[in-house]
């Protein structure tokens, strides 16, 4: 019998339906002792320039505004842009002997890896990185919140037992699939597959899947397509399904997870310090407080990566899922992935 992990809370009778539509799902979670509260942090003063990669509409902005209000003597300047473009800018500025950014908050870890590989990231204190869950502790950057790859499936067309718990096995199934090959998170997932399974196997998998795949522009589109019954299942980050179900509790979609492969990769947004001094480090500490972590979990459905803060409602804890062991910064170089996808006729 195939073992798989499901959202038990979604399958339990009425659990999701009890949540009022249009409202955030979480209540304040209990926390472990080693997670810092913002009350334990010193106030920030002085000038700090943050380069912020786009993400989550205004929710990251809400966090930044809250930090500003709590620290009236902090002069926080923010440059916003596409994450990859900002990473390129930071590297180019450094080559030109200019350093403008003190902190870089990127929406994905690949961009973080690019800046770290250029030797521009400061080592982070052990007590800071120690707050993060095992498997998410890196010496030169801190994952902030995570997103897990999932298989949203149409509950009218499939039962859980019909879904393989191996993403590679999907290539041999007859299931119709929705995907968004141009989407950055999908490309990171394929990069992880390349690292775990090799280029040849990944290329074969892409060709096999593409014969039964319908393309969508983005992964919310994938989830909506699954829910409409256009395809049996799809590839998407977890939060799209949770958000759809929040707005439409009777939606015909649930989440399935594969095990120990790229199909359940946990990728993360990340932050690193580029300049010396306590201020950039303290800023990063703010992002890892239980208040910010639980805010992003409840409002953006992201996975908190510090110890002791519960995941968004509707998602199992990370220790009940089996994500693969991948150095997230290795997802930085997309060029081989894009070449492989083009050669396979997927892009």
């Amino acid at each position: 019998m195939q073992r798989r992990v499901f959202l038990q809370s979604l399958l339990a009778a009425g659990a999701f339906g009890l949540i009022p539509a249009g409202r955030s799902l979480a209540t304040t979670p209990p926390v472990a002792a080693d997670t810092l509260s913002v009350d334990q942090l010193p106030p920030m003063e002085g000038d700090l320039t943050l380069y912020l990669g786009r993400g989550e509409g205004g929710l990251y902005e809400n966090v930044l505004e809250a930090i500003r209000q709590r620290n009236p003597k902090l002069n926080l300047q923010i440059r916003r842009g596409v994450t990859a473009a900002l990473a390129n800018t930071i590297v180019a500025e450094a080559k030109a002997g200019v350093r403008r950014a003190d902190v870089f908050w990127a929406v994905d870890s690949g961009a973080i890896g690019m800046v770290a590989d250029a030797g521009l990231a400061r080592p982070l204190p052990a007590d800071l990185t120690g707050q993060l869950k095992a498997g998410f502790q890196y010496p030169q950057w801190a994952p902030v919140t995570g997103r897990i790859r999932t298989l949203p499936y149409n509950t009218g067309r499939l039962t859980p037992e019909q879904i393989p718990d191996s993403v590679m096995a999907l290539a041999d199934s007859e299931l119709s699939i929705g995907w968004a090959p141009a989407y950055a998170s999908f490309q990171s997932f394929v990069t992880a597959m390349r690292l775990l399974e090799g280029d040849r196997v990944t290329a074969e998998w892409l060709r096999a899947i593409s014969k039964r795949a319908k393309s969508y522009a983005g992964e919310l589109g994938v989830v909506m397509g699954v829910e409409r019954g256009e395809v049996d299942l799809g590839f998407a980050n977890h939060y799209y399904t949770l958000r759809l179900k929040s707005g439409k509790p009777d939606a015909n979609v649930d989440l399935a997870f594969t095990k120990n492969d790229a199909g359940c990769l946990v990728n993360a947004s990340g932050v690193l310090a580029l300049s010396e001094g306590d201020l950039p480090i303290t800023f990063i500490r703010y992002l890892l407080t239980r208040e910010v972590q639980s805010y992003l979990a409840s409002e953006a459905y992201e996975i908190p990566l510090v110890n002791g803060v519960k995941p968004p409602v509707g998602l199992p804890p990370l220790n009940r899922v089996s994500p693969p062991r991948v150095d997230l910064t290795q997802l930085a170089d997309l060029r081989p992935t894009l070449n492989l996808m083009r050669n396979a006729g997927v892009l």
Partner: protein
């Protein structure tokens, strides 16, 4: 008789337009370099009025020649070239994109009527619409000048300014959709399609997650508009008015989305 103003030649930028359009903020011209005059409209209103008079006279000259000497003598290619020469072009593009689109629509209306050998009365009809768009544009710039004097208009920037909130993002999307109509009116459907694609990817995707919690059906509608309805309209045999109708319907939905997200934000929990 008014003295002729000095016309500054502007490069025609066709393919560059799409790239610049992706790099610049709302209200920024995507057609050639932006002169500093757009940040001091009041001081240039006299110049813009002269330029509109000049354009009306030049377009009239082309149509007169068509009426008296025929198609070959008329040189309809001069119509968009005259438009590209004036500073008023950037002034209206940066302040009222819908009227900017109408001016382009009018220019091509006259040009296509001449190129197809239409009766002179038909060409005059198109010329009248073009003139109306020009005067409407001048009016819009005069109003913008008043707002600018009062400090109510943001300075035109040449670097991209990211919207920071969901309502700002939705307003930015609406403005980008105006630019889609403008590019289509300029007979640049690929540039228009690129704006649609990038607006979806770099703007709409950032807000649709929060929006789907409020109204899943609205998100489905807009997803279809961005990925099917509007791209098909830009590819097919649509008129500028057809594309404009699709865009206006999308903008109405985006207004609804904005209201929903503003209300949702009021109920959102605090960070600390």
């Amino acid at each position: 008789m008014k003295a002729l103003f000095e016309v500054r030649k502007r490069r025609g930028l066709g393919p560059v337009v799409a790239l610049i359009a992706l790099l610049t903020a709302a209200q920024v011209s995507a057609n050639g370099a932006i002169g500093e005059h757009v940040n001091n409209l009041q001081a240039h209103l006299g110049q813009y009025s002269e330029e509109v008079d000049w354009l009306v006279a030049k377009f009239d000259g082309v149509v007169d020649t068509y009426e008296k000497q025929g198609q070959k003598a008329a040189n309809s290619n001069a119509l968009p070239e005259y438009w590209e020469e004036v500073d008023f072009h950037a002034a209206i593009e940066t302040n009222h994109v819908p009227t900017y689109a109408s001016i382009w629509q009018g220019i091509f209306g006259v040009k296509q009527a001449i190129d197809s050998g239409a009766p002179a009365a038909k060409v005059r009809e198109e010329q009248k619409k073009l003139n109306q768009a020009l005067w409407q544009g001048l009016g819009a710039v005069k109003v913008a000048a008043q707002y600018q004097q009062k400090g109510l208009l943001a300075k035109i920037q040449t670097t991209e300014a990211e919207p920071t909130t969901a309502p700002e993002t939705l307003e930015d999307i609406k403005h980008r959709l105006d630019r889609v109509v403008a590019k289509f009116a300029e007979q640049l459907p690929e540039a228009a399609t690129t704006i649609v694609h990038d607006t979806y990817l770099h703007r709409f995707e950032g807000v649709e997650g929060a929006l789907i919690e409020q109204d899943a059906a609205l998100v489905e509608d807009l997803e279809k508009d961005f990925n099917v309805t509007l791209p098909l309209a830009l590819k097919g045999e649509s008129s500028v008015d057809d594309v404009r109708k699709v865009v206006e319907a999308m903008q109405a939905k985006l207004d609804k989305a904005k209201n929903l997200l503003v209300e949702a934000e009021k109920k959102r929990k605090k960070v600390f």
